[in-house]
């Protein structure tokens, strides 16, 4: 060999897989706690099956939002306006005028509103050079205001049976909402890992200067990321409207915090350039499993909150612990192999 040095070290075990394993461990622990505290419920297989669906359905709308949020964060941004976009899209698609166009009109409206708000976010951030935190915070305030204006601060009931049935029907024995979540997660995974768009997202967030030098249009890409997040919010708006058979300006309150937290717990770097869709999904599932556990144990809300804070911390610590100890293990083995 002309060059004496071998520049590739033995492969390190995939960090993301370990992180996700850690989250699966957390989920398993939560389920075990459920079984131990409520054996009478868990002894009924029908109840268990139904409970899994309940958890997944609860995770469905926020899960869809989290997929979009994960893209935005990987791309180096943040979107605080997701909850507000859902409210605006939900309210707009349940006005009497929109409802008169039927289910297709309502879905179309929700998606278009979501994408359009994302477009405004993206333009402000990519071309107006506003800090994403500020631009989307301003959008949060403004979009909720507009939603309140449109709805006259009333809860708008959806009279459309097609929309309302999304939340109550099953396809092949699995709730429709769960199918939607699955479709969005799979699409998000493919988009992130198997398309030029996804790979460029990592570059734009991880090293924007390098992305620019490689000829990527960083601004346009940033714009597209916020539109993608807006689209996910539009989808989530329909899902939530269907669940609540109504929409109002205060709906999806604080979804931004939940989505960001789920993405980060799932291993997405808040500073951009790294993240996984599967991890984000697990993050969402951890949250909705915690909620479920509290519900079946009927914890008082204040106790619930205290315990929840503790669980979040424990989950992240556990996840780190697993990762560290496993890599140590692997390293030691490698050392033994190559003394």
């Amino acid at each position: 060999m002309t060059a004496g040095t071998a520049l590739a070290k033995p492969h390190r075990f995939d960090e993301n897989v370990l992180r996700n394993l850690g989250l699966v461990g957390v989920l398993v622990i939560l389920v075990i706690v459920g079984i131990v505290t409520k054996p009478e419920l868990y002894s009924d297989p029908a109840w268990v099956k139904n409970n899994i669906f309940v958890i997944l359905q609860q995770a469905s709308a926020i899960g869809v939002v989290t997929v979009g949020m994960t893209f935005v964060i990987i791309g180096g941004g943040i979107d605080l306006s997701v909850g507000a976009i859902i409210a605006l899209a939900g309210v707009w698609s349940t006005t009497l005028a929109t409802q008169s166009y039927g289910a297709v009109g309502m879905i179309f409206t929700a998606l278009v509103v979501g994408i359009a708000v994302g477009l405004v976010n993206g333009v402000l951030i990519a071309y107006g050079k506003l800090v994403p935190f500020i631009a989307t915070l301003a959008m949060l305030v403004a979009a909720r205001g507009l939603a309140a204006q449109i709805s006259g601060k009333q809860t708008q009931v959806s009279a459309n049976d097609t929309i309302n049935s999304i939340a109550s029907t099953k396809v092949l024995g699995i709730p429709t909402l769960v199918w939607i979540l699955a479709a969005v997660v799979v699409a998000g995974w493919v988009l992130l890992n198997r398309t030029t768009f996804g790979r460029r997202t990592v570059a734009v967030g991880g090293n924007p200067e390098a992305a620019r030098l490689a000829g990527i249009n960083v601004k346009r890409h940033t714009l597209l990321l916020y539109m993608l997040s807006g689209l996910c919010c539009g989808i989530a708006a329909i899902m939530l409207t269907s669940q609540a058979t109504s929409a109002q300006a205060a709906m999806a309150n604080l979804y931004e915090l939940d989505a960001i937290a789920a993405a980060i717990i799932g291993g997405t770097l808040l500073s951009g350039g790294r993240g996984t869709i599967v991890g984000a999904l697990f993050g969402v599932l951890v949250f909705s499993t915690i909620t479920n556990l509290f519900a079946i144990n009927n914890l008082a809300s204040e106790v619930q909150n205290m315990v929840k804070g503790g669980i979040i911390v424990a989950a992240v610590l556990l996840q780190q612990f697993r990762y560290r100890s496993l890599t140590n293990l692997l390293r030691r083995r490698n050392d033994r192999d190559n003394p």
Binding site: L7, A8, T196, A203, E209
Partner: protein, 502 residues
Amino acid sequence: MSTVLELTDVVKTFPGVRALDGVHLEVRAGEVHCLLGQNGAGKSTLIKVLAGVHRADSGTLLWQGEPFAPASPQAAMRAGIATIYQELDLVDDLSVAENVFLGHEPSRAGFTRRRTAAAATRTIMASLGHPEIPPGRLIKDLPAAGKQIVSMARALSHDARLIVMDEPSAVLAHDEVGNLFRIIRELTGNGIAVVYISHRLAEIREIGDRVTVLKDGRTTAAGLPADTPTRELVGKMTGRPFEYDFPPRAGADPDTEPLLVVDGLSRAGEFAGVSLTVRPGEIVGIAGLVGSGRSELLETIYGGRRADTGTVTLDGRRITSVGTAVARGMGMAPEERKSQALLLDEPVFKNMTLASFTGFATVGFTGARDERAAARRTAEQLDLRPRDVERPVRTLSGGNQQKVVVGRWLLGHTRLLLLDEPTRGVDVGARAELYRVIHDLAAGGVGVLLVSSEVPEVLGLSDRVLVMREGRVIREAPAGELDEDAVLDLVMAGSLMEGEAA
């Protein structure tokens, strides 16, 4: 040979700086055209104008005879100019193949064709002499030299007529540089022009055909033959005739008590059983290949990493953390200045006093005036350009940033200085200054532990040399007893000597 690129009177200003102030450059097909100049002379800025990163304020660019003004990196690449930048421009969380093809991914309907990209990457890597770098490995899992190879692979992945290389050898070890030259010869053999930037004159003699010299953003010599005498080249670069050498040194008194004692230091997977001493006023050099664990060793000695076994003592007192190390008078100039040493947005003086501002403070209140004065003196001592201690470090050229890092430890009461690749990216003139500073420090009783991938530098500067391979010290000898070939033999083959070292 035909001219492919011709620049006349190119000017480029940044807020407060005229980085290019009338540059002429003429590059022919199939030649290696070297750019020489001191740190901050404008070399990187010039190639960024070529690459479409910056736009020239004025001047004319002719590319294959046509007027040319690339508006974006993509436009330059499309025209056939590929660039290896001085600062690594890779994305940590993408794989090798994804980095090589970033921006021009093989794809179908937006879906990446991973197998095609991997195969193409494997081919390029093989042609670069590194078939062991897997296309799927993440960049963050590669050592610095591996990253440099990927940068090169990226430039080769474009079908370029001109490849610009900005200090590609700075992070490469000796053997890697030979490999790089082999590739450059292949390229030029195919009629591709190469613009090559380096501060190492020996490299320029070996690979270059012609040389253009920049000084203060102006061309002072265009298209000189590569074998122009050193004295003349340095004269064009610095404005004064100037050559450096390693002046003879008295060395430390072998009877003095050692200042630093490292005993049986090990860290799993990095280095094992390292013992060494440094006496006051002594310069100890560590030679070895890239990846032989020298940086980790220095950081562990400095208390920045926890040793698995072994001890580090300074003046008989244990060093357990960076805090105690600094308090007892240790200083370290780490290998990667941007990520490990500098606050890029802070002014020069605050970077220089980063380890000593408490010393300038009274009951917690900083003494900014004294800090500035001290930083100004140090800037003088190191010949920092521009000599402005208020300027954010980000706007300094690479070599001058390195001077700021070294300058940090001239300010405190440093008694032992750990230097990791101190002259990486530093120009000839500044390099001589740094050597002088290191000598002065040693003469003043400071112990120096030096890591460098440039063997002549280690041999020339040090009193005593340790040779490392795969995390172990395989030879220790006074500098006078070793020569460059012997050291290279040791670090590469090494097998003959192994018994002796054990």
